[in-house]
């Protein structure tokens, strides 16, 4: 191993990079642009929230308790309707999309339910059927809150847990979600396309054949390229973080898991690029193949939008995509500081990286036939 040669090769990669408008665009301007754009689009509404109007006809301790519970759900904004209003008139007058009424006797029935198992009381939810979207969300939230409430009652406990509901409603803003996704996506693109260029264009142009006859070894070459790739990954991470911090005030935590995931991601997607380059000889075709792999992966792995908004089978499908674990791991490490999950996702990324990179190196044809 000759460190001087590795250094010389690194410098050449660097020069090629800063002189290429295309790669500069994809590694710097594109992420910056998207972060500014998406940040601006979603900056108004932190996370989507819904207003729920409630009329409490009971005004008992139990109804207060239930209201408090609803108020704790951050996705819901509770507004009270005066008990003297006629609810249907009120809805029409104020053009409400939905409203809930806690009937008189709500508290009494609950008290009775401790003795009489069959005692029941129904909340009334008024909604506008033409606005299926938000009312169905609100209804499902109410539904699950009721489950919680019932559960709490039957246990006779006042400590009402809302964990299962509160997962959809983190305290983080969209941009907090977006920046790690953008970092994962950028690294994926840089590594796949860089690796493809080396394995198709350099082969076609005779550069690989030329290098085979010079004293640089395969290990030195690979090491230099991976060092450069890791440098690029760190660099675009830095840019994305800076924009996030300076423009959107995102709080980003730099730690070992974050760096580890970034480096492992570099190896992972470089390996995938090498595998593509092994089977597709033309650079253009290989680029198309890379796009066909990376773009669906970007959408399906929860890069730009939370997976929870997608159908169930797609959420399950995401779990086979390496980028999903990159995105999740980076969010755990950089934003939510959930190191157990960061480690879990990080280790999966490392395993993916080992598998794909080793496969890439083994599959790459260094010599000609």
């Amino acid at each position: 191993m000759n460190l001087r040669i590795i250094g010389v090769d690194f410098v050449v990669s660097f020069k090629g990079w800063i002189r290429s408008k295309g790669t500069i665009f994809w590694s710097i301007f594109f992420p910056v642009l998207l972060i500014l754009l998406f940040g601006a689009i979603f900056s108004g509404s932190d996370s989507p929230s819904y207003t729920l109007q409630i009329q409490d006809l009971d005004d008992s301790q139990s109804s207060q308790m239930y209201l408090d519970m609803l108020k704790n759900i951050s996705i819901l904004k509770i507004e009270m309707i005066n008990a003297s209003e006629n609810i249907t008139d009120y809805i029409q007058k104020n053009d409400l999309k939905g409203a809930m009424v806690i009937p008189k006797g709500f508290g009494d029935t609950i008290a009775l339910s401790h003795i009489d198992k069959d005692a029941s009381v129904n909340l009334s939810f008024y909604f506008d059927p033409s606005d299926q979207g938000s009312t169905s969300v609100v209804r499902s939230i109410i539904g699950s809150s009721l489950q919680e409430f019932n559960l709490a009652l039957s246990k006779g406990s006042h400590t009402i847990g809302m964990d299962s509901v509160s997962t959809i409603t983190s305290n983080f803003k969209y941009i907090d979600f977006f920046i790690p996704g953008m970092i994962g996506f950028t690294i994926m693109q840089l590594c796949i396309y860089g690796s493809i260029e080396r394995n198709t264009k350099y082969r076609k142009d005779g550069i690989l054949r030329k290098l085979l006859t010079t004293p640089i070894t395969r290990t030195e070459w690979l090491l230099s390229k991976m060092l450069f790739t890791m440098f690029l990954s760190l660099f675009s991470t830095l840019i994305a973080c800076l924009i996030g911090i300076l423009v959107w005030g995102v709080v980003i935590h730099v730690n070992l898991w974050m760096i580890t995931i970034i480096f492992a991601t570099s190896f992972l997607f470089s390996g995938i690029g090498m595998i593509i380059g092994r089977f597709v000889k033309e650079e253009e075709t290989a680029d198309t193949a890379a796009g066909a792999i990376s773009f669906p992966m970007m959408f399906l792995a929860g890069t730009f939008f939370p997976l929870q908004q997608m159908p169930m089978f797609l959420q399950e499908f995401a779990k086979v995509l390496p980028l999903y674990y990159v995105n999740e791991g980076l969010r755990n490490a950089m934003i939510s500081l959930d190191f157990d999950k960061a480690a879990y996702n990080g280790i999966i990324v490392i395993v993916f990286a080992l598998v794909f990179f080793i496969a890439g190196v083994l599959l790459t044809k260094w010599k000609e036939d």
Binding site: G16, G206, K210, T213, T214
Partner: protein, 354 residues
């Protein structure tokens, strides 16, 4: 590293220089500034007079025999041209010698070393220009040369190469912005950055216009002056005629003829051909000449070709034509060339331009 004590030819000062064994570089006398070219001892790894020895080389792809049991030697200091049409097996052969491909059978000795086991030992002493080579697009000419030279222990003087390859005015240009001919010249220059003993050039002028081709030829001819052994592959017979000391003609994986240009023409050529342009009555002329015992051929447009086995017979033909009162527009006499040698050997044309 070896040290060398030399006496300055101008001021007589004894100066010590150190260099890598086999290195050749220009040094300056510290007291009077006189430049001199020094060759450091050692590093001569070649022992026999043959720089390349190929014996019974074979390369088979599935059911295709790309190279079929060929043997040849390349002598030190010569320009050896491997001449053959597309698909003849030139690149396959040269890349086996360069250890880029593995032979199916046979052996290659390069600079006295068996490439199967000792290729790494000769890397510092060879320089190659692969077929259709394109260097890094976004490096300047100088950066490109510096990059490749830094991969070696033995480094030539870059400025000297730039001057010799006539690249001085392009050193700051990005490789991607160079013309095809310049790219090839840079390619040849890259193959010299380690001051190699042998240079391999695989079709260095394919795809270039005639002017650019000539410029690359000048650069290659320059290599012989620098004492390099050159292995050149080409499908242009003029290129082999212009540059080569020794020519091997390869066809369908076999070497079908080998020797100097003169030897090949003497052995496989058909002497000279007289071309009579625009005969007034071609049919009659052909009959008359055939009667006199000449090998005559109509080449269309009223043109006639007459084979002339010996130079002395040119005058004979002319006087015979005069006696028969044959009228024509003009006459030219062409010596047999490689194209004809190839045609005679294979019954096929050598180079069809795309």
């Amino acid at each position: 590293m070896v040290d060398m004590n030399v006496r300055c030819p101008r001021c007589g000062e004894i100066v010590s220089f150190s260099g890598i064994p086999g290195e050749r570089r220009v040094v300056s006398c510290p007291s009077c500034g006189t430049d001199a070219r020094l060759s450091f001892p050692g590093g001569e790894i070649q022992t026999s007079e043959n720089t390349i020895e190929v014996s019974h080389l074979r390369k088979v792809y599935d059911d295709l025999i790309a190279v079929d049991d060929i043997s040849f030697n390349v002598k030190k200091g010569e320009i050896f041209a491997f001449l053959g049409p597309n698909g003849a097996g030139k690149t396959t052969t040269v890349e086996i010698i360069e250890s880029i491909r593995k032979p199916t059978a046979g052996s290659v000795k390069l600079l006295g070393k068996d490439i199967k086991t000792q290729f790494n030992a000769v890397k510092e002493y060879i320089g190659i220009l692969p077929q259709e080579f394109h260097s890094f697009e976004r490096l300047t000419v100088r950066e490109t040369l510096v990059y490749f030279s830094k991969l070696y222990k033995k480094q030539a003087n870059i400025d000297e190469i730039i001057t010799a390859m006539d690249l001085t005015e392009y050193t700051k240009k990005l490789y991607r912005n160079l013309s095809g001919g310049l790219k090839q010249r840079v390619g040849v220059a890259i193959s010299l950055v380690n001051d190699p003993d042998v240079v391999f050039l695989d079709e260095p002028t394919t795809g270039l216009d005639p002017k650019a081709r000539r410029e690359v030829w000048m650069v290659i001819a320059n290599l012989r002056k620098r004492g390099k052994t050159v292995f050149l592959t080409t499908h242009y017979m003029e290129e082999a005629e212009f540059l080569a000391d020794h020519i091997a003609i390869i066809h369908k994986g076999n070497i079908i003829a080998e020797g100097s240009l003169e030897e090949l023409i003497d052995q496989y050529g058909t002497g000279s051909t007289m071309h009579i342009k625009k005969c007034k009555d071609p049919m009659e002329t052909i009959d008359i000449l055939k009667e006199k015992g000449y090998d005559v051929l109509s080449t269309g447009n009223g043109d006639i070709a007459v084979k002339i086995p010996h130079k002395e017979r040119v005058l004979e033909v002319l006087s015979d034509m005069r006696h028969a009162c044959i009228e024509y527009e003009n006459i030219d006499i062409r010596r047999s060339n490689l194209e004809e040698v190839f045609l005679n050997l294979t019954g096929a044309k050598l180079a069809e331009e795309k």
